[in-house]
């Protein structure tokens, strides 16, 4: 049996995935980051401060909530929601930024940069930078700026400079490219807070570790409320940070089935989707080897999802690894299914999920129907949907 906690290796490889594929200028600071992270990962004072902030600033633990009316409505297994939407700033993203900014502080960095898609990571980064009084620059694709205007304004209120990225497809991947370029140029004083479990090592491991509190809480909470282990865990996957966060604690518990839900967009046959594991091939993007969506010539292609946070042509290397080992299954939910799930959860539970998380809810519903009554599914409700209200209204022809 594989011990999933043996990964990544010292060079950041999850078997054939991961690694460090970065330009030479960044190698020194990636090594410094690796060394610093290794040190603080086991440093008691650092970990105490991290958990103190998670409790008192983020508001952890987030509840594990049995969605009774949703379960009844769907008819099948019990659906539990891990309420990351109740965190400060509205999503799981804050877990990682709280951790990384402590590391930035410990390393003496004065300037923070980040990329963002839906804006949740940008907001979470601007938030912790404001709290520590550090200068913060957030790169965001021009297209995403248009569809997530509320988050853009929130970042500005928090004192961050938001830079509109106009190259390439003008979405998350281009924001990441631009942040990398900034980092190469200002490498000495700048700390780059990557928002997902991608990028060159040590980012995939580090972002996973800072988010793994989600899975640890869920395991304990489930055991207290029900006893034993859940039957399945479902989480949406763009880069895959919320999914790795909840999966990690359960990796060696092979009875717990893990499902990562990729964005099927307008349908696989249309090509307008963001399902990197389901439709991509092994390649190299943004510093690691993973599944990548590219054309016949290896050029990265534009993806589509109703949710900006899933609109990414790569995926964290550990997910690629878990897929190849058969430990997690990567399934699909399309735009319409996500929208339906959004409405259903809002109407029967009074919870507005983010469009990203709505993909997980959509698959959770499907899975619940297949499983027997009394079985238990935990859906990671990674973020709240307030930021998406305008998008949904516009889609439904409502002028707010």
């Amino acid at each position: 049996m594989i011990n999933y906690y043996d990964f990544p290796d010292v060079k950041g490889h999850f078997d054939k995935f991961g690694g460090v594929f970065a330009s030479e200028t960044l190698m020194k600071c990636l090594e410094e980051l690796q060394t610093a992270y290794k040190k603080y990962k086991t440093d008691e004072a650092f970990q105490n401060e991290f958990y103190y902030d998670l409790a008192h600033y983020v508001g952890r633990p987030s509840p594990l909530y049995l969605a009774k009316r949703l379960t009844e409505n769907v008819g099948g297994a019990n659906i539990w929601l891990k309420r990351e939407d109740l965190n400060h700033t509205g999503a799981h993203k804050i877990n990682n930024t709280v951790g990384q900014i402590l590391l930035a502080k410990a390393m003496g960095k004065k300037r923070i940069i980040a990329e963002t898609g839906a804006g949740q990571h940008g907001v979470a980064t601007a938030t912790v930078a404001a709290r520590l009084g550090l200068k913060c620059v957030v790169y965001m694709g021009e297209v995403d700026i248009q569809r997530q205007s509320i988050n853009v304004y929130r970042m500005k209120l928090l004192g961050a400079e938001v830079i509109s990225v106009k190259s390439g497809s003008k979405t998350l991947k281009d924001a990441l490219n631009e942040a990398m370029r900034d980092w190469v140029t200002n490498v000495d004083e700048t700390f780059y807070i990557i928002g997902t479990v991608a990028g060159p090592a040590p980012y995939p491991e580090m972002v996973r570790d800072f988010n793994s509190v989600v899975g640890r809480e869920a395991k304990k909470q489930f055991n207290e409320q029900v006893g034993g282990l859940p039957d399945a865990i479902v989480a949406c996957v763009g880069g895959g940070s919320n999914a790795m966060g909840i999966f990690h604690e359960f990796l060696n518990d092979e009875t717990v089935k893990l499902y990562g839900v990729e964005a099927e967009g307008k349908g696989m046959s249309t090509g307008k989707h963001a399902a990197s594991i389901n439709a991509g091939e092994v390649g190299v993007l943004h510093g690691n080897r993973t599944y990548v969506m590219s054309d016949d010539d290896g050029q990265i292609i534009e993806t589509h999802s109703i949710s900006a946070g899933l609109d990414y042509p790569g995926v964290g290397p550990e997910h690629a690894f878990l897929n190849d080992k058969g430990r997690a299954r990567y399934v699909l939910a399309n735009d319409q299914e996500a929208l339906n799930a959004f409405h259903l959860l809002t109407e029967v539970e009074g919870i507005l999920p983010a469009l990203e998380s709505s993909h997980a809810v959509a698959y959770g519903i499907k899975l619940a129907q297949k499983l027997a009554k009394g079985k238990n599914i935990i859906v990671n409700l990674s973020g709240r949907g307030d930021k998406d209200v305008h998008t949904i209204a516009a889609l439904e022809g409502i002028n707010l």
Binding site: S23, T25, V284
Partner: protein
Amino acid sequence: MSRLNKKFIKLKENSQKALIPFITAGHPHPLMTVPTMHALVKNGASIIELGMPFSDPMADGIVIQQSSEEAIKKGMTLSSVLDVVCEFREKDDKTPVILMGYLNPIEKFGYQNFIQQASESGVDGLLIVDMPPEEADDLLSLLNQYNMSQIFLIAPTTTRKRQEYILSKSSGFIYCVALKGVTGSNNVDYGDLSEKFTTIRSLTNLPIAIGFGVKDVESALAVAEYGDAVVIGSALVKKLGKCNNEKQIKKTIKKFIKPIAKALNKD
């Protein structure tokens, strides 16, 4: 002996520095790339660095980003980059050509296929920006097999220990980046260079090429002092981007490249 080695030996015999212009294959138009390469040689280029366009060039500044986007839009692919080199070789079997780019298109092409076809096309070396030597073993053994050079970058941030490691994996020449930043940046601190290159020189017999930030005769001469070759990229690509036909390209190169080549070779 490889074309690169021959070239550097000959330059050394004549106490000359190599001028290595960088152009993006397929920019400003795929049909203009081969004539551009010949014009560069005619006006004093010693080695040509041909950029393989990539959709997500993370280490490049805006000029090379845009040139890549344009080349891709006009149908340039990795396989047509190799066709370009093939066609160039019909008239020029002496000037070394190295390819510079990013890993994903090569992963898609397949390492074995790509190296074999590149070698058959007359490519002399490969520089993959997002592949540090730590991840390069598979590609290195293929490059050795096909007698092609593996060119790596040394950055201002590269530690002494890494310099030694990188040099142990390098062949052809070593490419030193003169500044922190992306291609086409402006903030070279020439004062820093002297010490840096004395160290690198003491670690290797490989020729040293210096690039990033070179944009005219003055800046070329300033870095040439420390190395054996000068790379000029964004400044050239920017000028070529304004050309609409072969005639303009030839004129631009004559006006821009010839004086730099001349300045580098005058002693």
